[in-house]
């Protein structure tokens, strides 16, 4: 795939083709809209909380391959997590995407580490971070209903 392999890795493309948890959630406890004003993409994120546990999470909306794969992999990963755990993961992913991850433990990220390649494409960082910002907002106590990457 020539020199784009660091961005469009097979795992990412597979999630783009078959996004996980891409569905509505009528009984969600939190619904948050995330916008990327740069490209006009938006994501609707649904979270079902039971106490502090993320019992279910899903998303809707059409985005680019990176934002779709990122949302898909995020939902897979955070389902069943405690709120605090997911927020720690958000911080780790954010650091990874912005190249600010010196000293962080690769085990925290697991499969998500494949998004490291995006640093070489500064204009695409927000594609990958959109779903995470949206999740982070959904997990706040006073969860805002709309967030943007700006």
């Amino acid at each position: 795939m020539s020199d784009l392999g660091d961005l469009y890795q097979e795992v990412i493309l597979e999630h783009k083709r078959h996004p996980r948890n891409h569905r509505p959630m009528p009984d969600a406890s939190r619904d948050v809209d995330g916008h990327n004003p740069l490209c006009g993409d938006h994501i609707h994120l649904h979270v079902k909380l039971k106490g502090d546990t993320i019992e279910d999470v899903s998303f809707e909306g059409a985005g680019c391959a990176i934002s779709t794969a990122s949302a898909s992999m995020m939902t897979e990963r955070v389902k069943g997590m405690q709120r605090a755990e997911a927020r720690t993961l958000f911080t780790a992913v954010h650091r990874l995407l912005t190249g600010n991850d010196a000293g962080s433990d690769p085990a925290t990220l697991g499969k998500l580490a494949i998004f490291a390649g995006i640093r070489n494409y500064p204009s695409r960082v927000k594609c990958a971070s959109l779903s995470w910002h949206t999740l982070n907002a959904a997990l706040q106590d006073d969860g805002e209903s709309v967030v943007t990457t700006e």
Partner: protein, 418 residues
């Protein structure tokens, strides 16, 4: 040039020497990811010929001081260069007088100026008519005015090809209409609107018209007197000039009536704490030290375009557009967005299962620069039911070979993402 010489040239339909024109644009020789750049993003911002770069360079090296102030030589030279640029721009759009040429930051500031100054006297319930294909720059300033004055905004609908519905337009014009503000060429679709006819219709009802000419001036010869528009705005950077500079043309009678937009130095005649009197036109609207080098560069861009023969450039661009449209439509799953009969050289499109943002990145790896996004026209994207499009916008320095590279790279993108 005499009228006879000009006629002869036009009649001979000279062919376009694109190779020679490309020599004027140093950046077209740049390598991107190891290959020569194919710059297909001129509608976002056009590249600069050396004539513009050198004019700015010359000003700063030899002729720079503040304008309208100093008695010293450098200030006088800078003033002469700045005011000379105003003369070039007057000629470029054939305005009746140099007083009607106001330097602003760009089309956006020009529209904000008109909305905030001319629009300030609009009353609640009065209407401003816009179109569905406006850039946000010709929507949001009117929404801000709506907040302030209680006006209403009416929107001219479009058809699937991306052409304005002129019958609906006529029905929108009424006793409460105070203003029509419409783009001459759509940045997202390329549609060329029949602004001359639209102005006639509005004027029949005594309604003034603002034309957003940002995308028109790089492609079409504009004559504001022939159009009879009341206001015409454009940006320097889209017509091969610098960023941060543009022009508001307005009929003198409106500029006389309008209150200043911003206060400051240069726009005044006398100031005391009790009372200030304002400067003559156009300086009443040019508060503060202007973007002198920008204006000088823009003047050079206008002169460059005049020397090129815009009609010949336009014919060449049209051929490129036809070629590009045909080639793109050979690609399975590709849909052109904007297929108006009258079109400038903009190719906006979507491809099944390939998001424009991914296309933008993948094409970039092949050295091809396109825009991916909503093109600051979100209502229009909504009309077409797409979040974004990819847009290849062509200028007279582009070539068929670059379009061939685009098509090959699109096919590659489909393979990458399939």
């Amino acid at each position: 040039m005499s009228a006879i010489a000009k006629t002869t040239l036009t009649a001979a339909t000279p062919t376009w020497d694109v190779g020679r024109v490309r020599q004027d644009f140093p950046i077209l020789g740049e390598l991107v990811h190891g290959v020569p750049v194919a710059y297909l993003d001129s509608a976002a911002s056009a590249q600069k010929p050396r004539q513009v770069i050198e004019a700015v360079d010359r000003l700063y090296r030899h002729n720079y001081g503040n304008v309208h102030r100093g008695v010293h030589a450098l200030s006088e030279r800078a003033t002469a260069a700045y005011e000379g640029a105003r003369d070039s721009l007057r000629r470029f759009i054939n305005a009746g007088s140099r007083q009607e040429i106001v330097f602003v930051r760009g089309a956006t500031e020009g529209i904000n100026l008109v909305a905030q100054s001319f629009g300030r006297r609009f009353r609640p319930g009065e209407q401003v008519v816009l179109s569905m294909m406006e850039h946000h720059a010709n929507i949001v300033p009117w929404q801000l005015l709506r907040e302030q004055t209680g006006i209403e905004l009416k929107v001219i609908p479009i058809n699937q090809a991306g052409e304005l519905d002129l019958e609906a337009y006529q029905r929108l014009l009424g006793e409460r209409t105070r203003m029509v503000a419409v783009t001459q060429v759509s940045n997202a679709l390329g549609t060329i609107n029949p602004v001359r006819r639209m102005i006639e219709l509005a004027h029949a009802e005594n309604i003034p018209v603002l034309v957003d000419g940002a995308q028109a001036v790089p492609h079409l010869r504009v004559d504001v007197q022939a159009l009879d528009c009341d206001f015409f705005v454009f940006s320097g950077h889209k017509m091969f000039g610098p960023t941060g500079i543009g022009v508001l043309y307005a009929k003198e009678r409106w500029l006389e009536e309008m209150p200043p937009y911003q206060g400051g130095g240069d726009m005044i005649r006398t100031v005391s704490f009790e009372r200030t009197t304002f400067n003559d036109l156009p300086y009443k609207f040019e508060a503060g030290t202007p973007h002198i080098a920008g204006a000088v560069g823009l003047g050079a861009a206008a002169e460059y375009l005049e020397a090129l023969d815009m009609d010949c450039a336009g014919r060449y661009e049209h051929e490129l557009l036809e070629y590009g449209s045909a080639r793109l439509q050979e690609i399975p799953g590709l849909r052109l967005i904007g297929t108006a009969r009258e079109k400038a050289s903009v190719l906006s499109f979507v491809i099944d299962d390939v998001h424009p943002h991914d296309l933008g990145t993948i094409l970039d790896r092949k050295g091809i620069a396109v825009r991916a996004g909503h093109h600051c026209a979100m209502p229009l994207m909504q009309f077409y039911g797409v979040p974004a499009t990819a847009r290849a916008s062509l200028a007279f320095y582009n070539t068929r070979e670059e379009i061939d590279r685009l098509c090959a790279a699109l096919t590659w993108a489909q393979e990458v993402l399939a």
